[in-house]
Symmetry: C2
Subunit: 282 residues, 2 copies
């Protein structure tokens, strides 16, 4: 890498699977910045420090932010919105680029605008994650090859370019988009499959099926059932109307399939399968 | 392997992903039997022959069965039921063990009883497969480590033991069960996730989402949407009542989740997620 390092001192706020992986990936970049970490959870601060993911993990958020030129917020969505205001008010990180990596971009963009930091705020969302949670599940290569959606106001252009360069240095692929387009897409490609996995797992539970009974297909279909409710709660606060519509659509198709099976209308089931097979092949 | 080979001459009937993988796995066992293959599809016969999966692939089923001491039926379910009668009537395979590997065991057990071959019939169902179909998707290691459900009448005990030994020689793990217990379990751990994937994929299609838009979670949740409708049609002919019930249950949970999201009742969603997370951890 011949590029100059985009940031010299990064504060990673939140040291779960996402923040932890981000911190670990940072230390692997060609010109690794100094990385400080913060979490409300003392165990996570200790784990990140012992793993060498961060050079310091003070209990005090302000201390972690000191002289940072990038503050990376890696907490659940609602906490991220609150932290944007706290960080905006912190004089020791006055000129820092503020980035978050939560799964919806319109709420954080609103929080950044309200806190008066829209011109140095960059929303990022890496299309990578884990159904496991907490620092122990973090991996330095979590973002390798992953698309990272980037949302920033036009006047935050210089900050956005540096953030994109940082993601590229980790092997990720930043792609600019709008908060609106991003959030609709995520509601469908991420939130809808998540809830489908929850619905399926609950039905299996009701039938007395345990995960060990599943084959490879069933395991894939229920892997997300283990996802962290705390992380998701924030994403569901402002549910996108298209998520609600698509959930009802999915429910209706399954209801119809039950009726079809009951009356022995296998042709209708085959028609559904042919349709989704064509979709898969497209 | 010090065990004597359980079979000397195996006829594999059906050379798709399952039959093809079975034939290829056979040639990898310590004392590989002579393997003949048959398919109604000339391309598949040719492909299996050229790949060395079978030593012969005659057009005539009777020729493939000649002197076989094991006939392994690897076709969709309805075809398997028909073939059991054909094979039972074939004098050249009079004493052969007849095995099928389709996904439901009660219908084939009934077909074997009707054809008068229940005492030499062994139903097997390996918990392995592929959303791809056809011989080109076959793999010699498809069954390695996989559980193989074994269903046989008490007076087919000797045949069952030989079939189990054969699966073990391929690295699979045979487990005896009853047709009833097997079919209920499969309806829930395999058929239900299959239809959930179809329902989800259809909803994504309706929203204009293409597979390339998905992240890792969404990809896992829609992988089965590519499954072979022809193979599945037979399995859905005699749908288990518990599949119908569990499909309705899943649909209801998703419908409720849509309502909860719409009215901002995130706590109800979190309760669902906590429940399925506990189920996953169990």
């Amino acid at each position: 890498m011949s590029e100059a390092a985009p940031f010299q001192r990064v504060a990673v706020v939140g040291l779960g699977v996402m923040g932890g992986s981000f911190a670990r990936a940072l230390t692997g970049t060609a010109a690794a910045p100094e990385v400080r970490g913060w979490s409300h959870d003392a165990d996570e601060r200790r784990a990140a420090l012992y793993a060498g993911a961060v050079m310091a993990a003070p209990e005090d958020l302000k201390e972690a932010l000191q002289e940072a030129d990038l503050v990376a917020i890696a907490t659940p969505l609602q906490a991220a919105c609150r932290l944007i205001a706290d960080i905006a008010a912190d004089t020791l990180a006055r000129d820092a680029t503020i980035m978050d990596i939560s799964g919806l971009k319109a709420p954080v963009a609103r929080a950044a605008a309200k806190a008066g930091v829209a011109s140095r705020f960059v929303g990022a969302h890496p299309m990578a994650g884990s159904e496991a949670s907490g620092f122990p599940a973090s991996r330095p290569d979590l973002f390798e090859g992953a698309i990272v959606w980037i949302v920033a106001e036009p006047d935050a252009g210089a900050h956005s370019e540096k953030v994109e360069a940082l993601w590229r240095s980790m092997g990720a692929r930043p792609v600019r988009t709008s908060a609106q387009a991003h959030d609709r897409l995520m509601s469908l490609v991420s939130h809808l499959p998540q809830l489908a996995a929850n619905g399926l797992a609950a039905a299996l539970d009701d039938e007395g099926i345990v995960p060990g009974d599943l084959g490879p297909g069933g395991r894939d279909m229920t892997r997300l059932a283990a996802s962290n409710p705390e992380m998701w709660a924030g994403l569901f606060e402002d549910a996108h109307p298209d998520l609600v519509r698509a959930l009802r659509n999915t429910a209706e198709t399954l209801q119809n399939a039950a009726d079809e099976l009951e009356r022995g209308d296998v042709e209708a089931i085959v028609a559904l399968m042919n349709r989704t097979r064509s979709w898969s092949d497209a």
